[in-house]
């Protein structure tokens, strides 16, 4: 036997069958790659616009043996791959009919006690079973079923778009985060991604000339580096898909702003022109959810020119991406075999670049890559030297209350947060990249900012009365003692203060933050009392920025 794997638990059998069924809906022919770490199944639709991939880890199977060296028949599927750690992996790939495979593994009337997949392409295997995937089942009713599925051994072309995206993602968001404190869960996720990239066997494709998967980017960020990241509970998407008339809706658009995520289903099509008239069935459905409901988000945005007012810019950041519903629906429906809802992770770059979805469930990784509409794409300016003028801003999702790591976190009474939302908002938008006003949770980042806010204390009260945000480009703020070069990216800005003062030692920093926070609480309370008095006769705290917003736009 060159390959033998068995799946004995009913739940896993269902997952296996359902995943195959999902893939077969994208293309009846799937590519199966067997590695020593598990099985990869991928399918790409006929027009190359959608690719779905499922990775079953070795642990998914009750039993797993793979000995590629014994393969004699059908050796055209044998491939040898070295990863960046110079470890040689031998993998075996073939093409098989997934319709048929899923048929053989979907739930049947009697429970299957043993479900075994074997390939016997050794030198002593008989010709009749060479190049056949043998599926053997033993059912509870003592029937023994054995199916032979023909396959075509062929070398697989691994599409490593997900690795590329993750690398890009890390290089944009991770390396700069040392001086800042991000949501610890996001940081953890960065770390796990890093290890994932380093240990993936196909990571040669993303490695540099020294065979190192580098996620550190030294050059300034440009438009080309754009990548946005979203992660939230898949039930949000599921609910949306279930609620729309999926027979009419053809496309989905995700619109992400700093405060909301809008999922828009629409169709451009003109149906039944003769009978029902023009554009009778053009439909748009929008679900909007607050950014608070998202686990993480990272928005990449570029500032076109320094003259634009940062407040309006930061408010008008809107990332949107459009893709087709059909295959996406198939993919989501395929997840029904799991009872739990997990986080769906979405990476997308500019419109026109593929969008990547990833869900990890019980070690099984499901990936979907879809092409997107090019509408709204920003092309890179011709003179790339002037890229320096571009100041990419990266917005990272606010830290959630249920953050895993608590020590540096202090709870504020809820009621107080509700009382002074405006104060907080004005503070955040000033300069700390991406701090959301919904983010009432205290983190070092904000405290730092507030300390800084104290330094130029004249701006803080102002912000309450209407000059809602301190401009991020410090050229207009001479009072800030920051080196100008740091201000190219707002991301770096918060970090540099800390690195100047206490270095990058996080724990120390957090302590500082904590102390600062306590001071700040006190100060804020006093200050906000004052503000309240001021504003009581004027506009309410939430109204203050509204005229400004209109004015700006």
């Amino acid at each position: 036997m060159s390959f033998r794997a068995s799946i004995n638990s009913t739940n896993e059998q269902t997952i296996w069958g359902k995943c195959l069924a999902t893939l077969s809906q994208i293309n009846p022919d799937v590519f199966i790659t067997i590695t020593e770490n598990g099985v990869l199944i991928s399918s790409m639709n006929a027009t190359d616009t959608t690719m779905a991939k499922v990775r079953f880890p070795k642990s998914f199977f009750t039993e797993y043996h793979f000995e590629p060296k014994k393969i004699v028949f059908g050796e055209s599927g044998v491939q040898q791959i070295t990863d960046c750690n110079d470890i040689l992996h031998t993998i075996y790939s073939f093409k098989a009919n997934a319709k048929y495979l899923s048929l053989l593994s979907l739930k049947q009337e009697d429970t299957i006690k043993e479900y075994m997949l074997t390939i016997d392409n050794c030198d002593n295997c008989s010709e009749t079973i060479a190049n056949k995937l043998i599926i053997k089942m033993k059912t509870a009713s003592l029937l023994t079923k054995e199916y032979q599925v023909n396959f075509d051994p062929l070398e697989s072309v691994q599409i490593i778009l997900s690795l590329k995206y993750k690398q890009k993602f890390l290089s944009v968001y991770n390396n700069k985060s040392k001086g800042r404190s991000l949501d610890p869960r996001l940081v953890d996720y960065f770390k796990s991604l890093q290890t994932e990239l380093e240990h993936d066997m196909f990571n040669r494709g993303i490695a540099n000339e020294h065979n190192i998967v580098s996620t550190v980017k030294n050059t300034p960020l440009t438009v080309n580096d754009e990548i946005n990241f979203l992660s939230f509970d898949q039930s949000i998407l599921r609910n949306f898909i279930d609620s729309i008339m999926s027979n009419v809706i053809e496309e989905i658009k995700l619109e992400l702003t700093r405060h909301t995520l809008a999922i828009i289903g629409f169709t451009k099509a003109v149906y039944n022109m003769k009978s029902q008239g023009y554009l009778k069935q053009a439909v748009t459905v929008t679900n909007t959810c607050s950014a608070n409901d998202l686990e993480h988000y990272c928005i990449f945005s570029t500032e076109k020119n320094d003259g634009s007012r940062p407040s309006s810019r930061s408010q008008s950041i809107k990332k949107s991406i459009t893709f087709k519903l059909r295959d996406f629906k198939v993919f989501l429906n395929g997840l029904n075999c799991w009872k739990t809802n997990d986080m769906i992770r979405i990476w997308f770059c500019q419109p026109g670049d593929p969008i990547l979805f990833e869900i990890t469930k019980d070690g099984v990784v499901l990936e979907l890559v879809q092409v997107t509409d090019t509408e709204g794409r920003v092309e890179e300016p011709e003179d790339s030297v002037t890229q320096f003028n571009l100041s990419p801003e990266k917005i990272v999702s606010p830290i959630k209350k249920d953050t895993v790591v608590k020590p540096d976190k202090l709870q504020r009474p809820e009621s107080k947060q509700m009382l002074y939302p405006h104060t907080k908002r004005s503070l955040f938008i000033t300069d700390e990249d991406g701090a959301d006003d919904d983010d009432e949770d205290e983190e070092g980042r904000q405290f730092r900012f507030k300390r800084w806010g104290k330094q130029n204390s004249n701006t803080t009260p102002n912000s309450n009365t209407g000059s809602q945000s301190t401009p991020s480009n410090t050229t207009t703020e001479p009072s800030i003692s920051e080196p100008v070069k740091r201000m190219r990216t707002t991301v770096e800005w918060g970090g540099t203060i800390e690195s100047n003062n206490v270095g990058t030692d996080e724990s120390h920093q957090r302590e500082m933050n904590k102390a600062a926070y306590l001071n700040n609480l006190k100060r804020q309370a006093i200050q906000e009392d004052l503000n309240l008095q001021e504003e009581d006769d004027g506009m309410g705290p939430t109204q203050a920025d509204r005229p400004k917003g209109l004015f700006d736009s």
Binding site: L103, K132, S141, L143, E146
Partner: protein
Amino acid sequence: MIDSPIFYATTVHLDHIVTALNCLTPFGVKGEMLITIDKNGLSFAQENNHVIKIQLVLSRELFQTFHYSPITETSLTKVSLRLDHVLDSLNISNDRNDIIECTLTYNGDGSPFILIFEDNMITESVEYSTYLLKDLDNTGLVLDRTRLQFECIIKGDVLHNALHDLKEIGCKDCYFYAIHNETTKKPLFALISRSQQGLSKIILPNERSILEKFEIYANDSTTLLYDHPMISVFDYGMLDKIRASARIASKIMIRRDVHGLMTVNILNETKDILRPNDQEYKRTRAISGNNLPSHYPGIIIEICMLEKALPELPDVNEIKVMMIEYMGSESRHNFLPNTQQPPKKTAHDDKEEENSDGYEAASQDLPLFF
């Protein structure tokens, strides 16, 4: 109905009749079925292309009243009806919740066959014209009981399961493979399917509780033959016609004679109809109580079908190889034929193969011993 007709019978078990007649539907609903009336009951028969024939018997115990007074004592009355017509009228009445009494009457050649449905409000009467009497030609479809090759009795649901699986995988040709191992006395009965995707096999359990009887004869119905596989091939389209009957079967007897005729006898014990049709059926059953008469033997079906062709030699070899490999990997049954048997060479080769297959496992175990 002043003069009592030659035949009349009354029953309330409409659902049971519907269940029974549904077994005939794979043989073509548009075709004429031949109803034979004798003093023991009704028999319904249908055939396709002179290669497959079904005969279904509803015994007289099913009917509360059963009257048959032929002109001569032994004569049979035959009448042709269209299956879909009968089923349509039965189904309409069967959908109602009330207990419906159904009377079947027929007054010999030239008179219509009449179904009368009565509940406490309505009496409905359906007349079927019976112009045509198409007798069935049984030539070649009669089992030669003295020259049997293979005989087995198996539980109905197991065979149905297997047939259902074959259907799902798009089986084209179905091979029956049966072998009796001399040393272990263990039988092996497998259905092997050849489809677009390759060969598949379903090995039926050989436990006594499921495979009640299993014998392979040396062409004379008496001498038992061991270690010699019986392979016969059927067109799956044909074999699939059994499926509807197997669905309601409790026991199925399969016999095959030397002429390549296989008969499938199906006994449906009324106590345990294994697969009630659906929710609908259950409901009707619950309401009418399904109190089938206690001495009613159940639906009896006999299907005779001819082999597609004699299996070709390469196919046979392929199947043999496949089965022996299976047996090899299944070491606890130890199915390997003795080496002095005719397929000596193959068996030997496969033994080697089996050894090499088991080699991995053995080498893994080795360190334990050292």
